[in-house]
């Protein structure tokens, strides 16, 4: 089944080479070289990925390519390799990561043209691609964790890329720490699996073997492990309760937001859950938690998005919300549809961020939508592509997001979770509302841009618009691989992934057309409302905000979750560390006790010092006397 394919290593090797080159020689060889090396590393990985993917397609279903690079960690009965594996699931992810990644690298060439730190930027971006590909291609959970924390590191480095701003530095750290909380769950999840399997003599984290031995896991163990690992996923994929870092991550360069905080890294949690679908299927309760968390997060984040005014923040909350959909799909058993949404989301959300970047770039750094408007004439390419992406995320029929979201919603309903389905449909309406709000506020209506910024507003250079167009094409047609059942080739994507993630089995029958119609109506309502509020009667939103003051403030204040965490966790921790542990226990109690002894000894030493030169002599003397006395006693015992 697994075909040995050493070139897989090249997929990691190219980004690794790019990282090392940009880190050590980037400055020396200058911008023109870095601009070639940085993107070329990812295009190279993309090419090898395509090669491997074609090989995979030529193999019978359920096949995989693999290579073991070297034995990695082994202790006792435990053994794990530094091994890679490309099957249907990791193949799709590899193409998404390298494909979208390559064009975002290309876009970065234009976006970072005025930044002096280009070498460091591309070094980090290459390192990110390396880590993400390791995460995707790892053939065992432990190696996946290397990529898992590696992408977290790159995220941290890139959020605080402009490190002289203390707020950015703080946001970077926040992202890392929140992710570490999730990672603690990940570690314990792995250990739970090891403990349970170890008691049956199988100590492995290799996916193939885990799957083969999953029958050894009891439901309780599977549920515990699945939930702990899911805690890791909520950190990496910004779900409740650990989503708080993602909106703050938007202070990094915009291509970073597009690649890491929208298209690839944040979907790693969904990938991990899909990768372990065999484990989650053993734990129905854990699946319900996944679905519930995903659905509630989708709704929760969407409600925040509708009142944000920073263009990137709207997109950030939208990302949190869309990933919620993916987990919702996975949670009800439609893992393939979840991954399908990961793919289409990578296209349209990556595109949305790149377009937002083009707008910000054109307006010399302006991010507040209240100071935009009427830009469609000045930025025609950006407008057209962003509109396509918006249609895609709004699940307008024909665009990619429609197909993936439709499959998820259908699965939610037919799995019997009708109340989750209602929430998801309402969220679909909210999504269309805030996305069209964004389009209308940015590109339509009267121009509210500050005059001095408007002066040099211009469309982005070709190196930036070409990636926009490529992603727009993907956002439009990328969904065609997974059509509704019975239409042409049907859900080819789901069938392709089925050997890895299994198939969704509906619990009840429902008309796909009716379900899709409901979601469509909700979406239409959202668009109409956005049109009414932000084009037809722009004074309405303020009136409503005024009349619903408390609710508006709650949403605008993002439910005050950050403030809550600060109050309940950060501050008490700091206070306890400083006053209770640091002062009371360490200095006063333990040291107080010891210093009592030490001081008296020191005082005697001081007394001796008058005759002698220091307290060493005292120590040597006492020690020798004591040792001699004890030794003498035992010598006596022995000789006697």
């Amino acid at each position: 089944m697994t075909y040995d394919f050493p070139p897989l290593a090249l997929i990691l090797f190219f980004p690794a080479l790019g990282f090392l080159f940009n880190l050590f020689f980037g400055r020396r060889y200058g911008r023109s070289t870095v601009n070639v090396v940085g993107p070329a590393a990812i295009f190279g990985a993309f090419a090898v990925g395509l090669w491997a993917f074609v090989r995979l397609l030529l193999m019978p279903a359920g096949g995989a390519l693999g290579v073991v690079l070297w034995p990695w960690i082994e202790a006792g009965a435990f053994h794990t390799d530094f091994g890679l594996r490309l099957d249907a699931l990791s193949g799709v992810m590899t193409l998404v990561v390298t494909g979208v990644g390559a064009f975002i690298h290309l876009y970065s060439v234009g976006y970072m043209e005025h930044d002096e730190d280009y070498a460091r930027y591309f070094a980090y971006m290459n390192l990110f691609a390396l880590s993400m590909l390791l995460l995707v291609l790892a053939d065992n959970l432990l190696l996946m964790f290397v990529g898992w924390e590696g992408v977290g590191l790159c995220s941290y480095l890139l959020i605080s890329f402009w490190y002289t701003n203390p707020q950015y530095a703080y946001n970077g750290r926040k992202a890392f720490i929140v992710n570490r909380v999730g990672d603690a769950g990940f570690i314990l999840g792995m250990l739970t699996l090891l403990l349970a399997l170890g008691s049956h003599g199988v100590m492995t984290l290799n996916f193939t073997q885990l799957r083969a031995h999953s029958a050894l896991l009891s439901t309780a163990v599977a549920t515990t492990a699945a939930l702990l690992l899911f805690l890791g996923a909520t950190g990496k994929s910004a779900q409740l309760p650990l989503y708080v870092w993602l909106p703050d991550a938007m202070v990094g360069p915009t291509p970073v937001s597009a690649l890491i905080h929208a298209a690839t890294m944040v979907t790693a949690g969904v990938y991990m859950v899909a990768r372990l679908s065999f484990l989650y299927r053993l734990a129905p309760q854990a699946m319900d938690v996944v679905a519930l968390v995903g659905c509630v997060t989708a709704f929760f984040a969407a409600t925040i998005a509708i009142v944000q005014t920073d263009i990137k923040r709207v997109l950030a909350y939208s990302t949190v919300s869309q990933i919620g959909y993916m987990f919702l799909g996975a949670g009800v058993g439609a893992f393939a549809s979840g991954i399908f949404h990961v793919m289409t989301h990578a296209f349209f959300k990556g595109l949305l961020f790149l377009c937002a970047g083009a707008v910000i770039h054109a307006l010399s750094g302006e991010q507040d939508m209240r100071r935009m408007g009427g830009l469609w004439r000045r930025l025609p390419v950006t407008y057209a592509t962003m509109l396509i992406a918006t249609l895609a995320i709004s699940a307008v029929p024909g665009f990619s997001g429609f197909f993936s979201k439709d499959l998820i919603l259908e699965a939610v309903f037919t799995s019997g979770h009708w109340w989750l389905w209602i929430l998801a449909v309402v969220t679909a309406g909210l999504t269309d509302f805030y996305m069209f709000r964004l389009i209308f506020m940015t590109f339509h209506g009267e121009c509210r841009v500050e005059p001095e910024k408007l002066h040099h507003t211009h469309e982005a250079p070709a190196v930036m618009t070409v990636p926009l167009i490529v992603l727009a094409v993907c956002s439009t047609f990328g969904g065609l691989v997974g059509l509704p059942k019975g239409l042409l080739w049907g859900d080819a994507f789901g069938r392709f992934l089925a050997p890895v993630v299994g198939t969704f089995k509906p619990a009840l029958e429902a008309s796909a057309l009716t379900l899709g119609g409901c979601a469509g109506l909700a979406g239409l309502a959202g668009i109409a409302l956005a049109w009414l509020f932000y084009l037809a009667r722009p004074e309405l939103p303020e009136n409503i905000a005024a009349s619903l003051g408390a609710l508006y403030r709650l949403l605008a204040g993002k439910y005050y979750v950050d403030e809550f965490y600060n109050l309940v966790i950060s501050r008490p921790l700091f206070w306890i560390s400083t006053f209770v542990l640091g002062r009371a226990v360490d200095t006063m109690t333990i040291d107080g006790f010891v210093n009592g002894t030490a001081l008296s000894a020191e005082e005697s030493a001081q007394a001796l010092r008058r005759v002698e030169t220091g307290n060493v002599q005292f120590y040597v003397l006492v020690y020798l006397l004591g040792a001699v006395a004890v030794a003498a006693y035992y010598v006596y015992l022995v000789i006697r």
Binding site: W70, W72, A75, N165, A169, R180, I187, G582, V630
Partner: protein
């Protein structure tokens, strides 16, 4: 059997100590000291390659009668547990001498090098000694040079720190001496002759109650050295006031002596008592992990912060040791090496910045990245190693320890995992305050980045961190047989204790492990 490699290794530094005293000119002195220190490093590297990796027993053994009347012999040997600690010691001493020649030691450089070499002899001797008396001699020998290193070349309250250090350690050592003598006494009754030899004493069956007392005495001596909570308070003071090289050796090697002592003496000599004490030590280790991390978080002084982080990291080491399974113990040995590299590296980096600013207050810094990018980048890698980022060395040790602990008592691992979160918290927060943000103090704008010598000191550490993170196999495969042998001994003793009539059964299971009187 293996020539005089170990004797050479232990005593060449002592030769070096007197050799440097002959140097009069300062530059020549530092050069001579550094080059001389490469000699033991080269020997230890040779031993690393000559070491037979499948062998659980002692290699390169040397054994000569020393004081035959009391059964004291000069007995040296190396196994998979001490092998890497020896290499770590010789490497760190070389790097410290290289670093210290760059202006860190302004006065009395000759005496400084002298004490560094004496210290190296003490450390290597303690790691290689297989005779309890010989071990005790080396154990005490390493105290004295460290006392002078802190007391003469330290900062601030250096006398207080040096005194506290000695007082704490002595407190434990005296008890250990008494325990050694008592054990020899028991051995005398059982074997009919006086012997301090570890192999002989391992064959002596100690009664249940005396074993408990003896284990307690050994354990206390070693726990102070580790240091385990709550006997750790000497450490922040000693670390903070010591000169950079002193802190590096103290953290890098000396603290490991405590953990090593558990593995070499306390646990194999009194396995049943050790098993009985496991919950107690695990609890202390977990408290140390959390406590060290939290207290580190609020330290205003960089060096104190690193010192408290040691308490946390060594807590992990102790946790792994008392898991008493291959994952935990191998992880612990691995983590000792990691800690030597990462904490040694952190102390060196703090020393480098102290040399430029003459302060270690975190509040005095900020925005250093823009002035010292190389320093910041190296600091980043060392920090990531310290917080156990997967792909670097720290993760391998931390994961194996968590693994072993989880298999033994999952609750302990579930709490200790918080230490991993807090570890990232205090390190990243510190990094942010020192490196990120705008430069707030004018004087920091004039600082220069690392020089060639400083980079040369750090590069070996960085390379090892990456290599040990990606390819731990050469290390683990060398330590595994010795760890397995130790664990087999513990298991055998446990079974024997649990089934009074099962002694025969155990003997048949482990025919080669019976140590009778010869």
């Amino acid at each position: 059997m293996g020539g005089y490699w170990l004797t050479g290794l232990v005593f060449i530094p002592l030769l070096g100590a007197f050799f440097v005293l002959l140097q009069s000119e300062e530059r020549a002195l530092w050069r001579a000291a550094f080059i001389f220190s490469l000699l033991p490093l080269a020997i230890s590297l040779y031993l690393l390659f000559a070491f037979r990796s499948g062998d659980a027993g002692y290699q390169f053994v040397e054994r000569y009668p020393w004081i035959p009347g009391f059964g004291i012999s000069y007995h040296l040997g190396m196994d998979g547990i001490s092998l890497f600690l020896v290499v770590l010691t010789t490497l760190l001493v070389s790097l410290c001498l290289l670093y210290s020649g760059g202006g860190d030691i302004a006065q009395r450089p000759r005496e400084f090098c002298f004490f560094m070499f004496v210290l190296e002899t003490g450390l290597l001797g303690a790691l290689l000694a297989l005779d309890l008396f010989l071990f005790y001699v080396f154990w005490e020998l390493m105290l004295i040079p460290m006392y002078f290193l802190i007391g003469i070349w330290g900062h601030g309250r250096k006398i207080y720190a040096a005194f506290k250090f000695v007082l704490f350690t002595m407190f434990g050592s005296i008890l250990m001496l008494v325990a050694i003598l008592y054990l020899v006494h028991i051995g005398h009754q059982a074997l009919g002759r006086v012997t301090f030899d570890l192999a002989d004493l391992l064959g002596v069956t100690v009664g249940k109650t005396p074993a408990r007392w003896l284990f307690a005495a050994f354990a206390l001596a070693f726990a102070v050295k580790v240091p385990m909570w709550p006997v750790h308070t000497w450490l922040p003071d000693a670390h903070t006031e010591a000169p950079t090289a002193g802190s590096v050796i103290l953290a890098g090697v000396m603290l490991k002596m405590g953990a090593y002592g558990f593995l070499r003496f306390a646990i194999p000599l009194f396995p049943v008592a050790a098993i009985e004490a496991t919950p107690f030590f695990m609890a202390l280790a977990v408290v140390g992990i959390i406590y060290g991390a939290l207290v580190a978080m609020v330290q205003p002084d960089l060096k104190r912060l690193v010192a408290y982080s040691s308490v946390s990291h060594l807590g992990f080491v102790m946790l792994g040791i008392f898991a008493l399974n291959p994952q935990g113990v191998e992880g612990a040995v691995y983590q000792m090496l990691n800690h030597g590299l990462s904490t040694g590296g952190l102390f060196l980096l703090v020393g480098m910045i102290y040399l430029r600013r003459h302060t270690r207050e975190i509040a005095e810094f900020g925005g250093l990245w823009s002035r010292l990018p190389v320093f910041a980048a190296i600091f980043m890698v060392v920090m990531l190693s310290s917080i156990g980022l997967p792909g670097l060395n720290g993760f391998v040790g931390e994961f194996l320890i968590m693994f072993g602990t989880f298999l033994h008592t999952w609750q302990a691992a579930a709490v200790a995992v918080l230490g991993i979160v807090f570890g990232a918290l205090y390190m990243l927060w510190t990094y942010e305050r020192v490196m990120f943000g705008p430069i707030t103090k004018k004087i920091n704008e004039t600082l220069s980045d690392l020089g060639a010598r400083e980079i040369a000191v750090m590069v070996p550490l960085i390379v090892l961190m990456v290599v040990m993170g990606l390819y731990p196999r050469p290390l683990i495969s060398r330590m595994a047989p010795s760890v397995d042998a130790l664990l087999a001994r513990v298991r055998t003793a446990e079974q024997r204790a649990n089934t009074p009539s099962g002694a025969k059964l155990v003997a048949s299971l482990e025919p080669s492990r019976s140590h009778g009187p010869r």
